[in-house]
């Protein structure tokens, strides 16, 4: 391997690593607030990419119908579970966000999609369709389990993952898609040919990470989310509506997932079930960093991207194996160094 190839692989690795960083950071965020290991984050990413692809083709994306299904399911389940405690105001809000909004979006997309309005419209429509799904998924699957153990929540998350993959197949079909990049073309940088697309991925990733930093460090809402993660009872006592924090965390997850999907759609071919591997690599990054620190998670995820890129070159048949095996020494090391550490936030 000469240095040109090495640099080329590095570029590839860093770009994929940036996407994994977004996934990893999202997993850390969701886990911190809700103790859920959000396995299905990958599905949201795949759906976002598939949505952009459908819009580029002038077709109505499956997500528009899916959103209506999820909205109706969330409303129906909540009605069935808690009809005694729901106030008229809450019912009205539910009607608006769970039924009116999804149907409105569906109708709008049916009208607008055939016009092929271009990149900006596609991005906005994708965000509009994907972002509300976060809190819908939370309400359908996780809210009733808010007090459950980490293990039960993980099992629920895996269940949701399978359900979403199934829904993805129904609504998008088995075909793979690739979307047009935000920026095309290249420019030389020393010995390296850099794709503008790579630059755009990096810039967007950094913007998202910076936005998260500002949100958690500077805003009351962000601090309330952190506080809920640290001490749920303490957060309730200062008036944080801890039930809402789960929804907020999932809304953030869906937003970052949609952005990741829009980015990754132009890097590689995405199928209805491509999300799992993407999610898993972000997860490896998050685990390498101990499922705690955001900056470390981002760095570890970039490392995962680089490792994947180089192992694809040297031993392409084993690339996934290599990536997932690095988790073993890390887990071993962790279990040896933190043997006395036990779950401090189990009490509610």
């Amino acid at each position: 391997m000469n240095s040109t190839i090495a640099l080329f692989l590095a570029q590839d690795g860093i770009i994929n690593g940036a996407i994994y960083a977004l996934v990893g950071v999202t997993l850390v965020l969701v886990f911190a607030v809700t103790r859920i290991i959000f396995v299905p984050q990958g599905e949201l990413i795949a759906w976002a990419a598939l949505t952009v692809a459908a819009l580029e083709a002038g077709a109505v994306p499956g997500t528009a119908y899916l959103l209506v299904v999820l909205g109706a399911a969330a409303a129906a389940l909540e009605l069935a579970r808690e009809w005694r405690e729901l106030t008229a105001r809450y019912l009205l809000a539910m009607l608006a966000t769970d039924l009116a909004l999804p149907i409105g979006l569906l109708l709008a997309v049916i009208q607008l999609a055939p016009l092929k309005l271009g990149f900006t419209f596609n991005v906005i429509a994708t965000l509009a369709l994907l972002v509300p799904m976060g809190s819908l998924i939370y309400r359908i699957a996780f809210q009733p389990l808010a007090e459950a153990t980490v293990l039960v929540l993980l099992i629920a998350a895996i269940g949701v993952h399978f359900a979403l993959v199934g829904l993805g197949l129904v609504f998008f079909g088995a075909e793979g898609v690739r979307t047009t990049p935000l920026l095309s073309g290249t420019f030389p940088l020393g010995p390296l040919v850099v794709k503008w697309q790579s630059v755009s991925v990096l810039v967007v990733t950094l913007l998202v990470l910076g936005g998260l930093y500002v949100f958690f460090e500077r805003t009351m809402m962000g601090k309330a989310l952190r506080a809920t993660a640290v001490n749920r009872l303490g957060a309730r006592l200062v008036g944080v509506p801890v039930r809402a924090t789960g929804r907020i965390a999932f809304t953030l997850a869906a937003t970052i997932g949609a952005v990741s999907g829009i980015l990754i759609g132009s890097l590689t071919t995405i199928y209805y079930d491509s999300g799992f591997l993407i999610g898993l690599k972000g997860f490896v990054g998050a685990i390498l960093a101990g499922l705690g620190s955001y900056p470390l998670t981002a760095l570890a995820a970039v490392f995962v991207g680089l490792l994947e890129s180089y192992s694809a070159f040297f031993a392409s048949a084993f690339k996934e194996v290599i990536v997932f095996s690095i988790i073993i020494p890390v887990l071993l090391w962790r279990s040896l160094t933190s043997g006395t550490h036990h779950d401090e936030d189990e009490e509610v």
Binding site: E85, T219, M220, K223, A224, R226, A227, V230, N231, L233, G234, A235, R236, L237, V238, G239, V240, P241, V242
Partner: protein, 241 residues
């Protein structure tokens, strides 16, 4: 509007089958300090948690004459209720300042600067430590932080569960000073204290709790002179355990 800010009628709280609070009634007039004294395990903490909505209970809790039903903790906080819990429940991995900021959650960021100024004036120590993680504070500093966080929410009814626990005498004095100060500012207070003598001194009215029930009640000065109270709770040495 009734003249009691809080009225508890026939309240019972159970942990599984065990009833820790049984049919308790109490009323806190506006701007008064009411104290509940009782031995360890009498049910004082349980009572406060139930009033705050942290524990489910049977019976009625009314704020300003309006029953709170099964309303959530955050709704009660928004109505001006605030509890400094026995275990403090601080945000241990966040800074002192962030803990205080979150105390003002119900008003949003705009209430933070004024609130911080007031709290730092009362507890200069907290200002010195503002960037330090709450989990690394000394025991006394943690108490101050818990109190400060509560003050940030500008409560109308403040419930203090053993605010002087483990504090040096000088700080205990400061805490009781704050309690009387708050009363002057019109804040109503429900106080639970191991230091029954000090509690009875600042309080207007007192209840004695035994095994989940109120067995005596009356103006604090009267109870402080009652023979049974002196024997059981004030002792000879000043009521400290």
């Amino acid at each position: 509007m009734s003249d009691a800010i809080l009225k508890v009628s026939n309240l019972s709280v159970a942990y599984g089958r065990v009833e820790a609070v049984r049919g308790v009634s109490l009323s806190i007039p506006h701007g008064n300090i009411v104290t509940v004294i009782g031995a360890n395990g009498a049910g004082k903490t349980t009572l406060m948690n139930a009033i705050m909505g942290v524990l489910p209970s049977v019976g009625e809790v009314a704020l300003d004459g309006k029953p709170m039903g099964r309303s959530l903790v955050e709704a009660r906080v928004n109505n001006g209720l605030c509890l400094v819990p026995e275990k403090r429940e601080l945000f241990s991995t966040m800074s002192v300042e962030d803990n205080l900021r979150l105390g003002a959650y119900r008003f949003g960021s705009s209430a933070v600067p004024g609130g911080l100024r007031d709290v730092f004036a009362r507890f200069p120590r907290l200002e010195e430590r503002r960037k330090q993680e709450a989990g690394t504070l000394s025991g006394g500093e943690r108490q101050m932080l818990a109190m400060g966080r509560a003050l940030m929410s500008r409560p109308r009814l403040l419930m203090l569960d053993e605010p002087s626990l483990g504090l040096a005498p000088l700080i205990v004095k400061e805490i009781f000073h704050i309690v009387t100060d708050l009363r002057k500012a019109g804040v109503s207070i429900l106080l639970v204290e191991q230091n029954a003598r000090a509690a009875l001194q600042v309080a207007d009215y007192a209840y004695v709790m035994e095994l989940g029930e109120f067995t005596m009640s009356g103006p604090a000065a009267e109870l402080a002179a009652d023979k049974r109270v002196i024997e059981s709770y004030l002792g000879l040495g000043g009521g400290r355990h």
